[in-house]
């Protein structure tokens, strides 16, 4: 009666492949080459008298530090998908002889809008229209401004957009900073100065269009 099950090379190689996937070494060509290397090593060991099972263990053990391998291939892999994605998008958009409103172009364009433009407008910056002359002459009535949401520090003279308790969004001039209490005093033309929490400031005006 055999103490061990008969060694199945194919199964053992499959298990090895899975362990490679777990280390993030996933490209088929790479794994094929490494497998071919293992088999070459095994041939020589079997010639020296080892059994197939022994040869396999030794060959696997002799595989170099897979961490450096994984790092090397991970680097390539990370850029690989970005390059592929960019190439595919470029290829679709630059296909000649497509009607201007070709569905494929619209879909890719639409996806771009959703994936890139919308988050940008919600998280980074967005345009606003100044409907009154409350912050004139810095922001004349009727002009558009770009408000940048990610600024943490404000200084006196900045034009900011802030929210009041009634959820109205207003433009204002920073007049005084009270860092100790995290409060800011903002002013608008022909209105009383308001002292608000820094948290109520949504963002800073970074550019004005007439």
């Amino acid at each position: 009666m055999e103490a061990n099950k008969t060694f199945n090379l194919k199964d053992a190689l499959d298990v090895w492949r899975i362990s490679m996937y777990e280390k993030n070494i996933c490209e088929k060509e790479t794994l094929d080459e490494l497998e071919s290397h293992i088999l070459d090593a095994m041939d020589e060991l079997i010639d020296c008298g080892h059994s197939q099972k022994e040869a396999f263990s030794i060959a696997i053990n002799n595989l170099g530090n897979s961490d450096s391998l994984a790092k090397e291939f991970k680097l390539n892999f990370s850029f690989h998908w970005i390059v592929k994605l960019y190439r595919n998008i470029y290829r679709v958009l630059s296909t000649k002889n497509l009607k201007f409103y070709h569905p494929r172009k619209l879909i890719v364009g639409g996806c771009f809008a959703i994936i890139i433009a919308l988050p940008f407008r919600y998280i980074v910056a967005s345009p606003y229209l100044a409907v009154s002359s409350a912050v004139s002459p810095e922001v004349p009535e009727g002009s558009r401004v770009f408000v940048y949401y990610l600024s943490q520090q404000f200084k006196v003279g900045d034009i900011v957009v802030f929210k009041l308790e009634d959820n109205k969004e207003l433009l204002g001039r920073v007049l005084k900073l009270d860092d100790l209490n995290s409060m800011v005093t903002v002013g608008r033309n022909r209105e009383n100065h308001k002292t608000i929490k820094i948290k109520s400031i949504l963002g800073k005006v970074i550019v004005t269009f007439r």
């Binding site: 060509e29 790479t30 094929d32 080459e33 490494l34 071919s36 290397h37 088999l39 070459d40 090593a41 041939d43 020589e44 002799n62 595989l63 170099g64 530090n65 897979s66 450096s68 391998l69 090397e72 291939f73 390539n76």
Partner: protein, 113 residues
């Protein structure tokens, strides 16, 4: 005696290019040849060799293609490209500079007992 990681890494390119200059070759065979030529002092692992081979291929110095071994198994062979031949000439020149410098220094100093 084990060679430092830096020495092994620095010498990998000229060694690989030189081996491929003789004949096209595959990974496992390159490792065995280096082991043989170095008298067992340099035992490259696959984790060290294959990333270098792939880098050299990306740089256009060598080119790979899948072929068949004597037993009919799939094997990836590498061969030297023209750009690689030129690089090899450069590498030989660089290593000769180091070699000549060390040789002349060691000729001057008394032999160490």
């Amino acid at each position: 005696m084990s060679l430092s990681k830096e020495l092994v890494a620095a010498s990998a390119t000229p060694i690989i290019l030189s081996i491929l200059a003789e004949n096209e070759n595959y990974g496992y065979s390159i490792i065995r040849k280096v082991d043989e030529l170095s008298g067992g002092e340099m035992q490259w692992s696959d984790g060290m060799l294959y990333p270098v081979l792939h880098r050299l291929e990306k740089q256009g110095l060598i080119k790979s293609k899948w072929g068949k071994s004597e037993t009919g198994r799939r094997r990836k062979y590498y061969k030297l490209e023209i750009k690689g031949k030129k690089t090899l000439v450069e590498e030989k020149r660089k290593w000769n500079v180091i070699n000549t410098t060390l040789e002349s220094l060691w000729k001057q100093t008394k032999p160490l007992i």
